[in-house]
């Protein structure tokens, strides 16, 4: 069965420090991968999505970047965090194999507090 792992679960970082959130998917190949941010308990904002290794689409210009160094690995990064980067970050995946169901599944999320 497919599983998704996201870490770290909680992170407190000072302003100006770097960030790295990692997400891996198991049990599937060539998934579509997504990073979302949820601020203040409201809607999910799509940040990045990827259809393959090295193929990243950025949805919102901001202080963050994403990379996909391996087929089932998706990393969210920042060189210098801002206070406004605080929030709940969710990684998600979608299977692309035939009969995969076209459903997007989410990781457990990462709480980022920038202080």
């Amino acid at each position: 069965s497919q599983t998704i792992h996201q870490w770290p679960a909680t992170l407190v970082q000072p302003v100006g420090s770097p960030l790295s959130l990692e997400c891996t998917v198991e049990g599937t190949s060539n998934p579509n991968l997504y990073w979302y941010r949820q601020a203040a308990g409201r809607g999910l904002q799509l940040l990045f999505y990827s259809v393959g290794i090295g193929q990243i689409s950025s949805e919102v210009p901001q202080n963050l970047s994403a990379s996909r160094p391996q087929d089932r690995q998706f990393i969210l990064s920042s060189k210098k965090l801002l206070l406004s980067d605080s929030g709940f970050y969710l990684c998600a995946w979608r299977g692309t194999a035939p009969n995969s169901g076209n459903t997007i599944y989410f990781g457990e999320g990462s709480w980022l507090t920038v202080v």
Partner: protein, 114 residues
């Protein structure tokens, strides 16, 4: 660009009663998928129900059902026999068949009262 709108920020329902959450969307595409996700206090995103746009029949999953009106671009969620465990934030979402992008509404906080 696609948009998803949930016009009810908060709703409440008595246990065992029925509640309907509203959702409208905007798209020029003909092939797409619609979803309702539930987010309890744990923050885990849980798929509640899914609807393929090419299917006229409304999707049903146990106590959860949808009213999909493609021409009106409306996708409401009905929860029957509400349970305390249904208390959560509910998100309506649209996914393009072309791009695979999943776009969410702003969410509706549902409280089930005993």
């Amino acid at each position: 660009a696609q948009t998803v709108t949930q016009s009810q920020p908060e709703m409440s329902v008595q246990e065992a009663e029925t509640v309907t959450l509203s959702c409208t969307y905007d798209t020029s595409e003909n092939n797409y998928y619609l979803f309702w996700y539930k987010q309890p206090p744990s923050r885990q995103m849980i798929l509640v129900i899914r609807q393929e746009a090419y299917k006229q029949q409304n999707a049903t999953e146990n106590r959860f059902s949808v009213n999909f009106q493609k021409a009106a671009k409306s996708f409401s969620l009905k929860i029957s026999d509400s349970q305390l465990g249904d208390t959560a934030m509910y998100f309506c979402a649209f996914m393009s068949s072309n791009t695979g992008k999943l776009i969410f509404g702003q969410g509706t906080t549902l409280q089930v009262k005993p």
